[in-house]
């Protein structure tokens, strides 16, 4: 039997597998079926009961889940705390493919793990298919202007997978959960978390939002984001922004989309008062449907939107919000 396909699960603040972790588990199950290999989920976290609970949740998607209690994981940065134990587990069981979520924690963990294992990494995967006996990884490159397929040249590979590669779907029957204690032979210097500081009013995350309403310079100022937030609320979406308005301090960096911010792929992207400069375009142009609301009929965004409403956003957006609320009522 070929080497197993593993999905490494990231946990949210409540200790449950994130949506990205559920997607990875679903992906691993499908790849393993095509490869004739085992599908295995791995949960790493602080505390035996936490990882047991998360493992049980993940087992809805996978036949086998391994849990690893990492003492001190709660008080330290994730990569150095978890990578040595995961490296030991990988050396012991030799999976062919290890899927890791392309999130900040996932990238940190994958980089540290690759360094310990000297294993190649395929990054930025938008989709993974089993092809000719190996995983073929689709990537959207150069800001969405090119789609590439890449395959490993080695037998054992790590793959970083972006949110939205697949729709998470539970298996027909839940799998087993087994606690394991790999004997780590590597050590990495730990980084202590002195304190965790919550923003006063944390905005909904844009990472895996189905709908994003983004504002640019056209909203005029921090107060202008009120109409953007209202529309996002009415649509059940998240608020995004361009770099210019983040630099201006109108909204937090966590919401920035584009070259030095995040790359997103929602089903609906509404660009409000956004001209569509290349630095923004590279972060959103692979979105499903793109709607622009802009005064300027010659703005670059017109070139790659599906629908453009020409006009004053302060006249259009509140009416749109009201119309959506009326529909829902």
């Amino acid at each position: 039997m070929p080497g197993a396909i593993w999905a490494i699960a990231e946990l949210d603040e409540e200790g449950q597998p994130t949506r990205l972790a559920q997607e990875l588990a679903t992906l691993a199950r499908g790849l393993a079926a095509d490869a004739g290999a085992d599908a295995v989920g791995v949960v790493l976290g602080a505390g035996a009961s936490t990882v047991q609970a998360a493992g049980t949740a993940l087992a809805a998607y996978l036949p086998v889940v391994l849990t690893v209690d990492i003492p001190g994981a709660a008080e330290h940065a994730v990569a150095a705390a978890a990578a040595p134990a995961l490296a030991a587990l990988v050396r012991e069981r030799r999976p062919a493919v290890v899927l890791v979520g392309s999130s900040p924690d996932g990238k940190d963990l994958a980089g540290a793990l690759a360094g310990l294992l000297d294993r190649a990494v395929l990054v930025n995967g938008a989709a993974v298919r089993w092809t000719d006996g190996a995983p073929s990884v689709e990537m959207s490159t150069f800001g969405g202007r090119l789609v590439t397929q890449s395959m490993p040249t080695v037998d054992e590979i790590l793959i970083l997978v972006r949110p939205g590669s697949i729709t998470a779907e539970a298996a027909a029957k839940p799998g087993t959960v087994t606690a394991v204690m790999p004997a780590a032979t590597d050590t990495l210097p730990l980084v202590r978390v002195v304190e965790r500081v919550q923003a006063e009013a944390a905005a909904a995350s844009i990472d895996d939002a189905r709908i994003i309403v983004a504002g640019g310079r056209g909203v005029g100022g921090p107060d202008g984001f009120g109409v953007i937030r209202d529309l996002a609320d009415a649509l059940g979406g998240a608020v995004g922004a361009t770099r210019a308005v983040v630099d201006a301090g109108w909204i937090a960096y966590s919401q920035q989309i584009g070259q030095t911010g995040k790359i997103v792929k929602p089903a609906l992207y509404m660009a409000v008062g956004i001209s569509g400069a290349i630095q923004h375009k590279v972060g959103m142009q692979t979105s499903g449907t793109i709607v622009a609301i802009n005064r300027d009929p010659d703005a670059p965004i017109v070139e790659f939107a599906d629908l453009v409403v020409i006009g004053d956003l302060f006249e259009i957006v509140p009416r749109l919000t009201a119309a959506l609320r009326a529909r829902q009522a």
């Binding site: 603040e13 990578a83 990494v121 090119l146 890449s150 590279v282 709607v291 629908l307």
Partner: protein, 259 residues
């Protein structure tokens, strides 16, 4: 405080293309990766406040030196350009290995790297490098400050809902984001001074690395096919008065089952 700042020269955003060999074409104009300039700015501010110097390190073909020249004009003291024909087509594994070999030859308290590069979007070289060098790794920094007793570094790590304050002893590797603050423009004086600053060029032989252990030949993956994304049909442009425009927009969203 001696800070090594890693800079990647990437294709100018919007101009990226693959060459005939299906590798990123680096002969079509390069610039410093966006986030790298933010970490350089943070490094310059730290050395201005606490003393010390900034050394730039890049790995890349000859035109990558332009990105170093700009960093020197911004205020870095010197630069190291790791360049060797055998490095063409290197993957993240080779990049981390070669950068680790270069950094081991330098004296430093901190190594800085920028978040995700615009050409690769991998985001794994920095933690990989930290693992190879055995350095504490503090990532997604929005603020970097020396700890209270001067032997540690404190970094605010951005999260979805705020930040974690991280602390580790130096030497350490810090990966930074745009939130560190806008990079300065090189002054005329800085540009003049940069002309006399040293850019050391190191080959694989200088680093004691065998050419057959790096480059495209040992890359862990290869591009098997490329395609253009499906084209958009072209925008429907709505120019009606607000009420009529909103009615059209709602119909459009409903037809696509988005509401």
């Amino acid at each position: 405080m001696r800070i090594v700042v890693l800079v990647k020269a990437v294709p100018i955003v919007g101009n990226e293309r693959l060459g005939d060999d299906r590798r990123v074409d680096r002969a079509n104009g390069l610039e410093a990766n966006g986030n790298d300039e933010y970490t350089l700015e943070a490094a310059l501010k730290l050395t201005e406040a606490h003393g010390g110097e900034v050394t730039l390190v890049t790995m890349g073909p000859a035109p990558a030196a332009e990105a170093l020249r700009k960093g020197l004009a911004m205020g870095a003291a010197r630069a190291v350009h790791v360049s060797d024909p055998a490095l063409a087509g290197s993957d993240a594994r080779t990049t981390a290995t070669v950068l680790a070999a270069a950094i081991r030859r330098l004296e430093y308290d901190l190594v800085f790297a920028g978040a995700d590069t615009s050409d690769g979007l991998g985001g794994v070289v920095a933690p990989w490098l930290a693992a190879l060098l055995g350095l504490p790794y503090l990532s997604y920094g929005s603020r970097i400050e020396p700890g209270p007793d001067g032997t540690t570094i404190q970094v605010r790590r951005l999260g979805a809902r705020g930040y974690d304050l991280l602390e580790a002893p130096m030497p350490a590797l810090v990966m930074g984001t745009q939130v560190l603050g806008e990079p300065r423009y090189p002054s005329l004086r800085g540009i003049m001074q940069a002309r006399t600053k040293e850019i050391a060029t190191w080959s694989l032989a200088d680093l004691g690395i065998a050419p057959d252990t790096v480059g495209a030949g040992v890359a862990g993956s290869r591009v098997t096919s490329t395609a253009l994304p499906p084209p958009r049909a072209g925008a429907t442009v709505v120019r009606e008065a607000p009420d009529a425009a909103v009615a059209q927009l709602v119909d459009f969203l409903a037809a696509r089952r988005l509401i």
